[in-house]
Amino acid sequence: MNKIITIDQAMEKIEDGMTIMIGGFMGVGTPEIFIDGMLEKGVKDLTVICNDTGFVDKGLGRLVVAKRLKKVIASHIGTNPETGRQMNSGELEVELVPQGTLAERVRCGGYGLGGFLTATGIGTEVEKDKQKIKVEDKEYILELPLRADIALIRGSVVDKSGNVFYNASTRNFNPIMAMAADLVMVGAKEVVEVGELDPNHVMTPGILVEYIVGGEK
């Protein structure tokens, strides 16, 4: 089973209107190769789930600037002024989620759980319209899972069966997103043969990854 495909083949999987998770934190650990590909293909009306919208010239912020998003679910949009501008003008729907809650919602989606209880956001606007549940007299918000059609993740070292190692702070949302989408594609900085990655060091098992595109920077 050959999982290595070209960026053009990868782009054939992405359609207008899809919900896509994109790994990274301020562009670090974001698979830029797929951002390039989506910009070139002209895919649009995407709902993107991500930690932040990066910068106007780095990370998935470039998709915002090119107006390819219909909606974004993120914890932070402050480093990309274009996201705020489009939000205020009504061009882009933005759902802001506390970062820990966002990570946990993505994990829930991938781990087959129906939701979780967190105290984060109690007494703030975050609790609006959400079910609250008391456990032993402490109040929690019931937060629900997130899933996507496709997860685009970035791997530092990827073996040909799809096992992924993330270096340093590039890990962030990538491993949990790799669990939470119907189709997972990884942009690999380095592709190695099966068996070269120590099974103890694999952070995303290859069984979760459908396709690998090499040439990620």
């Binding site: 089973m1 781990y111 087959g112 759980l113 669990m179 099974p199 098992p205 069984i207 979760l208």
Partner: protein
Amino acid sequence: MSMDAKEIIARRIAKELKDGDIVNLGIGLPTMVANYLPEGVRVVLQSENGFVGLGGAPDSGKEDQDLVNAGGQCVTINAGGAFFDSAMSFGIIRGGHVDATVLGALEVDETGNLANYMIPGKMVPGMGGAMDLVSGAKRVIIGMIHSAKGSPKILKRCNLPLTAAGQVNLIVTEKAVIDVTEEGLVLKEIGQGVSLEDILKDTEANLIISEELKIMEI
């Protein structure tokens, strides 16, 4: 006959698995399925104690005490395998990342209910990972001897405490292959040399006879 029956079941179930499937095999008979995969079909075995790429037994003297299967026996890991912790292992299971699980059963019924983890007052070992596996795997295949000393195990309604409600997809015995459908249990295949009467006699549940009923090939 008993050994042959188990082999028939394992061989038939092996044909249900597709190349590239991620599979979790229960302890006992289900483990045998890995020995009979059709040519060209390679599956990745998940071991719920924390890895994928479960390999065969190690050569004598080469056992690694850190590397065991969910039954506690020393095993190996294939190239391309990966270790993880129990939370992620069951995330993989519950999250639908396991294509099929093969398990034994004490009882199974018309609505796909499964009882395979306890007999109150007699055997209460705990459910281990079985409840998560049966709830989470995309396809639940039951492999078991058709009846227990003449007393049916495929019932109208399970009597024992359930492992999961309505999750079984396919039942394979040495006598029959039975699909669990919305309409009920559909008899799809009959074992070689087994009569329909024999199956009906050994089965309490109503069986819908498939219009494409055929002889089980193993």
